[in-house]
Amino acid sequence: MSETNDNVQAKPVGLDTFSYDNQIVKLFTIATVAWGAVGMLVGVIIAFQIYLPDLNFDIPWLTFSRLRPLHTNAVIFAFVGNGIFMGVYYSLQRLLKTRMWSDMFSKLHFWGWQSIIVSAAITLPLGYTQSKEYAELEWPIDIAIAVVWVIFGINMFRTIMARRERHMYVAIWFYIASWITVAVLHIFNSIEVPVSFLQSYPVYAGVQDALIQWWYGHNAVAFFLTTPYLGLMYYFMPKAANRPVYSYKLSIIHFWSLIFIYIWAGPHHLLYTSLPDWAQSIGMVFSLMLIAPSWGGMLNGLLTLRGAFDRVREDPILKFMVVAVTAYGMATFEGPMLSIKSLNAITHYTDWTIAHVHVGALGWNGFLTFGILYYLVPKMWRTTLYSKKLATTHFWIGMIGIILYAIPMYWAGITQSLMWKQFTADGQLLYPNFLETVTQIVPLYALRAIGGTLFLTGALIMVYNLIKTAKQGKFDKDEEHQAPPLPKKFVPEKGEGKLRFLERQPITMHIGVLVLIMIGGLVEVIPLYTINSNVPTISSVKPYTPLELEGRDIYVREGCYVCHSQMIRPFRAETERYGEYSKSGEFVYDRPFQWGSKRLGPDLHRIGGKYPDAWHYEHMKDPTSMSPGSIMPRYGWMIEDDLDVSSLERKIEVMTSLGVPYPEGYEKHALNDLMKQAEQIAANLKSAGIDVDKKKEIIAMIAYLQRMGIDIKGDPKSTANQFE
């Protein structure tokens, strides 16, 4: 569509002359660098906030629980996302020997993606969130993501169709698989019913919501943070080392087995939860199997440097790449190990998970992106790197940063886990106060913050180095290239095999990949919906009252799930500390589910009735007043702000449409019931000497907290009984 063949002066016989679109690669390069700095900076800020709560400044949009999703989204979708597109737009054109199909689609893709990132940067701190990890963005942005993703896909697919290279190199297979799978995951996990312009409820509830979310969440790691980067590895490592990939056959096995197995492994995020055991077992087994293809790929990457390892000493690009691939190997060994139920019982909800994630994010994604940037910028600006010395300095600062980040987090994770499970000789919890297990690891959080700061410092050095490199060179916007056109007739070799056939059939390959990933997805998801015994209902579990529902939405808005789980696992250490273990039937009205993935504070599933209303009021106002030494931020604005009930009617309507058994026409009476319950809580607070208006947000929050986990206790005073 936008080939620039016209202005060629001397056209060699039999060769097409065309140009590569470097402009789009440049735009994504700038975005990668800029958003990377922002995402890492937010990470550093929250790393300090986590143990210095005063750094939240009592400002809602600067509070840890709202900024943490911003950090994860910025790093995953802004830094890594733009990094993927940068690498794909550069390598795809060259591997296919053609320009991108449409410059306009490329630009639409770029500006659309940046608009999504800006939307996320505005809405997440303001508390507009679905609270599903890495899928927090609300429904209008979800739709925009789908549209932009389709634009990218069309452009990629049409470019593949217009190629001058008959066979698609393995990197392109990874790009195809990533595109298809991310589309499927995003669409299925984002099926929600809007309540207002920036709020929605998912169609799934409780256990089903959890499975869909972690099927998405795990595969977001797999098909956004891993497979596209493997594609980039298969292109940029051979380029940087100037030698072909170690074993092309191994790369084929790596690709097909990886994409087939990866999609099954999601349930390993939900081990020992209320998810049915069979689903947990599938997740565990397939996670273990993942070691083989992952390490096949890792070794294939490292061995590409065979005979060139001496260059690693001198070349910062290779240094970054070698560490990146090694980190990939470490993370993909550790991941399956953490999926073994007995080890997961120790590590889950602890900082071990944070360490694991950051070995992958900083080491694999971060370092590979840095290596690619150091490779690409001099190429596109037709110059050499401004300073190898600075790049090497960046490498070592980054390395020390990763080490200073990971080791304290592993240490913290193990410490937490041991303290949570420690009993006295009399059979009592040795550390019954959860806070003890937090204050113990605060010094490790401080070390981690230093590690993160070092990593950011290294990245900033890179920014300077790349700017200087660009300034000393001349950007080649439309890089000319020559290649023979693709002959229209092609006679396949006899007995070439099915895989060879697939390599030159993009449509068939797209379909094949789709079928493969759908097998794993459907086998896990469909039974959870269709087999009744998977989610046994509990008759005493009733829908939330209107006030509790409003309180729950505030809980979601503030991102409480970032630090508090709502899932008591069936271990003695947990039932002693929190109460009866959580059952799947207790979550049937939870939209979205709030099980969490990390405990910086205690589990809250049985918090209802544990403390008086006044305790919660004081705790939200200043956590240290109730728990001296607490590192939880203050949520004073809940006491100041009025509860917004303008969407209440619609919320009840949506919940009813999703199957929540509110009485017919209840949306018309919901506000009355809300005010009655609010009056009761305000009266309770008044009797404790706290004078607060019943219309304040804190009243709804207290209502929700007091409801949590009490339905199965059969408490006659429970608000659940109002729907009898």
């Binding site: 590569y20 060259r94 591997l95 020997k97 290279e165 066979h167 190199y169 393995v170 990197a171 298969y234 292109y235 051979p238 380029k239 100037n242 072909p244 990939v245 074993s247 092309y248 056959k249 790369s251 084929i252 096995i253 097909w256 087995s257 087939f260 197995i261 099954w264 069979w278 689903a279 599938i282 087994v285 397939f286 199997m289 001099p378 190429k379 080649d476 890089e479 000319e480 290239h481 020559q482 290649a483 007995g495 070439e496 095999g497 099915k498 895989l499 060879r500 390599e503 493969l516 097998i519 794993g520 086998v523 896990e524 469909i526 039974p527 269709t530 087999i531 009744n532 015994s533 998977n534």
Partner: protein, 59 residues
């Protein structure tokens, strides 16, 4: 009918087994096809990223 069968199923333990069998069959197919691939073909494919080194725009 299919939904009724699933609704009345008490056990889902068969699913992991089916999953493993499906994977084993698929993996065997991949291994066999890769094994049969000629070395020259694999070599030519692995050289694709390096071929552009001769292009006009390389520094």
């Amino acid at each position: 009918m299919f939904k009724n069968i699933l609704n009345s199923a008490n056990e889902s333990n068969l699913l992991p087994l089916i999953a493993l069998v499906v994977f084993f069959l698929f993996f065997s197919f991949i291994i066999w096809n890769t094994y049969k691939m000629k070395k020259e073909v694999a070599d030519s494919m692995s050289n694709i990223p390096l071929e552009e080194n001769n292009n006009l725009g390389e520094v």
